[in-house]
Symmetry: C2
Subunit: 147 residues, 2 copies
């Protein structure tokens, strides 16, 4: 069992803007994919669409400014059943974001790709909160032939 | 046991430029840290210095345009004894780089940070080969309060 882990620090006085970017359709549309719909409340399903595919995430937990957890209910076979967990805390001038995408069955090449791509999208989230401008799909940073 | 995995695709007709960037002091200085010295041959030790610390890597394997493996012999406690493995292959217009940093004892917060930071440095490697310009330390992309 292998996980994807990441950590970024977002320069902002409190975690509320990061939390908003993880829990509202408007926020998620501004750093992950412009084509986001659905319900970000606990029990709701968020739908994220990209040119190459889609992910549907059920919101399992949300604790204001502290934690958000999603479970993948539809999407690529490798993703279904995995969990994505966001933990936030304030450390001086930075909101520290700890990210974990867990439950992968095997460390296939697609998982390597998703790890790098998540890191790139976390930088988009950081940029959104710090500057007002993220890089969501379809204008996301291209990391390879797989986009 | 948890690993850091990444995958990028570098738009270049053959893997030789990526291989050179992973095996020569000049190449490594141009995408990872400007302060690189040492010997990139098998059995040699490469020394990478950053404002916050350093890593010494023993070159365990190198197979032209296919594979490079380092073992960390000095540096932060969490890194010593871990292995960094690079696999290259050509897929059409892209050299595919599969990266694995394995042997971490536990998924501590520092490992989350290193995962994101490696992703960012792989983008620097990609940029170096594609454009001639990387973003090595000390002008690397800042991802958090930990730099």
């Amino acid at each position: 069992m292998v996980d994807i882990l990441h950590r970024v620090g977002v320069k902002t006085p409190a975690p509320d803007k990061v939390y908003e970017a993880l829990t509202t359709v408007d926020g998620l549309s501004s750093w992950w994919t412009g084509d986001t719909t659905g319900d970000g409340d606990v029990g709701g399903v968020l739908e994220f669409r990209f040119s190459a595919g889609y992910f549907h995430m059920k919101v399992i937990e949300r604790k204001p400014s502290e934690r958000v957890t999603w479970k993948v209910v539809e999407g690529p076979e490798e993703w279904v059943g995995t969990t994505i967990d966001w933990t936030l805390r304030q450390d001086g001038e930075y909101t520290i974001v700890l990210f974990k995408h867990e439950g992968w069955k095997e460390p296939a090449e697609f998982m390597h790709h998703c790890s790098t791509k998540w890191g790139s999208f976390l930088m988009s989230l950081k940029s959104l909160v710090e500057t007002g401008e993220g890089a969501p799909a379809p204008r996301d940073v291209q990391i390879s032939d797989w986009h």
